[in-house]
C-alpha cells in the first residue's frame, strides 16, 4: 500500500467525489425529466410490473398448445414430448380423434410447471409443431403444488406474445383458485 493510501483521506475524498458526481448528475436528469425533457433518464431502472424490458423472441416462457382452425389441439398425442421431457412434467392421456384422417388427440395434456425446467425439448421434439413456448408469460405462481399443474384447456387458451415479447394472454388461473 502506498503511503498516501494509508491515510485514507485522499482515497475517501476521491470516492466521495465519484458518488457525489453520480448523485448530482442523476438529480439533474431527474429534474430535467420532470420538467418535460422526457429523454433525460436519471436511472436505469425498468419499473417492472408497469413496464417490461423487451424480451427476445427466443425466450422460453409458459407453454401453449397450438390450435387447429376448429379450435381443437394440433397435438396428436404421440408422446414424443412426454418421452423427451427430462423433468417428467408432461402427462398425456390419448383418445381417438373423430376425424379418421387424424390418428389421435390428447384427452388430457397436463404440464406440471412446478417440475418443468424450461429446457424447451418438448418444443424441439414435437413433430406437429403443436406445443410452443412463446406466450411471454413468466409470472405464473400458485399457493400450492396442485395449482401449478396446467391443464389442456388452460394451455389451449393461450396466445403467442407480441413481437416485443409482451404477453397477449393473461396468466391462466388454476381452476381451484378463486381470482
Amino acid at each position: 500500500m502506498k503511503t498516501a493510501q494509508r491515510f485514507y483521506l485522499r482515497e475517501v475524498l476521491s470516492g466521495l467525489g465519484l458518488t457525489a458526481a453520480h448523485f448530482f448528475r442523476n438529480m439533474g436528469r431527474h429534474i430535467a425529466h420532470s420538467l418535460g425533457k422526457k429523454d433525460a433518464q436519471g436511472a436505469v431502472t425498468i419499473q417492472y410490473p408497469d413496464e417490461r424490458r423487451p424480451y427476445s423472441p427466443r425466450l422460453r416462457s409458459l407453454h401453449r398448445l397450438v390450435r387447429r382452425e376448429d379450435g381443437s389441439p394440433r397435438c396428436v398425442a404421440c408422446m414424443m414430448c412426454e418421452t423427451v421431457c427430462p423433468a417428467h412434467c408432461i402427462y398425456i392421456v390419448a383418445e381417438e380423434h373423430p376425424n379418421p384422417e387424424i390418428e389421435k388427440m390428447p384427452r388430457r395434456f397436463d404440464i406440471d410447471l412446478g417440475k418443468c425446467v424450461f429446457c424447451g425439448y418438448c418444443v424441439e421434439a414435437c413433430p406437429e409443431d403443436a406445443i410452443r413456448m412463446d406466450t411471454g408469460i413468466l409470472e405464473f405462481s400458485a399457493y400450492n403444488r396442485r395449482s401449478m399443474i396446467y391443464t389442456k384447456e388452460m394451455l389451449l387458451a393461450l396466445e403467442p406474445a407480441e413481437r416485443d415479447g409482451r404477453p397477449r394472454s393473461p396468466v391462466p388461473m388454476p381452476a381451484d383458485r378463486k381470482p
Binding site: V12, N26, M27, G42, Q47
Partner: protein, 365 residues
C-alpha cells in the same frame, strides 16, 4: 398572563426542537432510500401510495411505521424482561435529548421579551451534548446484554468499545474549539463565529479549527454507529446488538441511528459551520466587507438565521449520507486503530498547537 406566556415560550422552544429532530429522523429513512438510489443510478422506493398518490415515495416512512407497529413484538424466553423492553427507549431518549442545547437561532425579541432560540439554555451545553451522546450507548449495551444472545452481546461489546474510542476523540477535538471561542455555552460559541477574520472571512470553526473539524466529523460518524463504523451492527457477521428485537422496538433502534446522525450534523453545524450565523449578517442587517449595508427588520434577521441553521444541518445530513453510501465498513480492529492511534493523538496534537498559537498570537487576557 406572564406565566402563561413563559410557559408558552418554553413549550414552543422545546416543540420546535422536538418536531424538527423527530420529523427529520423519520424523513431520514426516505432520504436514505432516495439518496442512495440516485447515487446508484436507481429510482428508489416509490410504491407506497394513498389513493394512487405516491409523492416520490414520501409515504414510505409512514408505511414503515405502520408495518413496525403491527408486527409481532417478540421477546426471547431467556431475555431479561425489564431491561429488554427498556433498552430501545433509553436509546431513543438520549438521542432525542442530545439536541436540546443546540441553538437554532439568535435571541428573538418579542415585545421586550428576550427568547434564546435554543430548547435549553445551558452554560455547559457542549458537555451536556457529549454526556447525552455517551449515555446513548447504555441503551445499546442493555439491549445486547439483556437479549440473552451471544451475538447481541458481541455487538453491544463492540458498540461500547467503539463508543469509548469515538467519545475520547470527540471530546478532545472539541477542546480546540472551546479554546478558540472561550466558552462551553454553545450559544456563545456560535456568537463567537460571527466575527470576521481579516475583515472578510467569517470566523467559523472550520476556518479556525480545520483539523478538529475533520477529527470531530470522523469520530461523530463513529458515534452514530452507521457505516463505515457499523461494527456494532456488523450485518454480514453478527447482525448486532438488536438481533433479538422485532417490531417497533427494532424500529426505535433504527430510528436512534438516524436521530444520532441529525444530532451529529447539528453539532458539526454549530461548532464548525457557524451555527445559525449567516455570513455578514449582523443583528441590524447585512454589513458586507466592501462597505455596503442592507438593514433588515429583527424578525427577518431571526428568520434568516433559523433558515441558515436548518440549511446547514440538511447539507451536513446529505454529506453524512454520502459518506454512509460511499465508504465500505472498517473492520473492528481497523476502527479501533483509527480511533486510538489516529484520531486521539491527532486531537491532542490539535489542542497543543491551538494552545501554542493562542498563547503566541491570541487575544491577551
Amino acid at each position: 398572563m406572564s406565566l402563561a406566556a413563559d410557559l408558552g415560550i418554553a413549550f414552543g422552544r422545546v416543540a420546535f426542537i422536538m418536531l424538527f429532530v423527530l420529523n427529520l429522523g423519520g424523513l431520514m429513512t426516505w432520504v436514505e432510500r432516495k439518496q442512495s438510489a440516485i447515487m446508484q443510478d436507481r429510482i428508489g422506493a416509490n410504491r407506497a401510495s394513498i389513493y394512487g398518490f405516491r409523492v416520490m415515495g414520501l409515504l414510505h416512512p409512514l408505511a414503515d411505521a405502520i408495518k413496525m407497529l403491527t408486527k409481532e413484538d417478540f421477546r426471547p424466553a431467556r431475555a431479561d424482561r425489564f431491561l429488554f423492553a427498556l433498552a430501545p427507549f433509553v436509546s431513543v431518549f438520549f438521542a432525542l435529548a442530545a439536541f436540546a442545547s443546540i441553538p437554532f437561532g439568535d435571541t428573538l425579541v418579542i415585545r421586550g421579551r428576550e427568547i434564546p432560540l435554543q430548547a435549553v439554555t445551558l452554560n455547559v451545553g457542549i458537555l451536556y451534548v457529549l454526556a447525552m451522546l455517551s449515555l446513548g450507548v447504555y441503551g445499546v449495551m442493555m439491549a445486547g446484554w439483556s437479549s440473552g444472545n451471544n451475538f447481541a452481546l458481541l455487538g453491544s461489546q463492540r458498540a461500547a468499545a467503539l463508543m469509548i474510542s469515538a467519545e475520547i476523540a470527540i471530546g478532545a477535538s472539541i477542546m480546540g474549539v472551546i479554546m478558540v471561542y472561550g466558552s462551553l455555552n454553545m450559544m456563545d460559541i456560535v456568537r463567537g463565529q460571527g466575527a470576521l477574520l481579516g475583515g472578510w472571512l467569517p470566523k467559523w470553526g472550520i476556518v479556525t479549527q480545520p483539523l478538529a473539524c475533520l477529527l470531530f466529523l470522523t469520530a461523530g460518524i463513529a458515534a452514530t454507529k452507521r457505516i463505515p463504523f457499523d461494527t456494532p451492527e456488523g450485518e454480514s457477521e453478527i447482525i448486532g446488538y438488536f438481533v433479538e428485537y422485532s417490531g417497533m422496538k427494532f424500529g426505535m433502534f433504527a430510528m436512534t441511528d438516524f436521530l444520532e446522525t441529525v444530532v451529529i450534523s447539528g453539532m458539526v453545524t454549530t461548532l464548525f459551520l457557524g451555527g445559525w450565523q449567516v455570513p455578514y449578517l449582523t443583528a441590524a442587517g447585512f454589513q458586507f466587507p466592501w462597505g455596503a449595508t442592507w438593514s433588515l427588520q429583527h424578525g427577518i434577521v431571526v428568520l434568516l438565521q433559523v433558515g441558515a441553521f436548518v440549511l446547514k444541518g440538511l447539507v451536513m445530513i446529505f454529506f453524512l449520507m454520502l459518506i454512509r453510501w460511499t465508504l465500505p465498513r472498517f473492520r473492528y480492529d481497523q476502527a479501533m486503530r483509527l480511533g486510538w492511534l489516529a484520531l486521539f493523538p491527532l486531537s491532542i496534537l490539535n489542542i497543543v498547537v491551538t494552545g501554542a498559537v493562542l498563547l503566541l498570537w491570541g487575544p491577551q487576557s
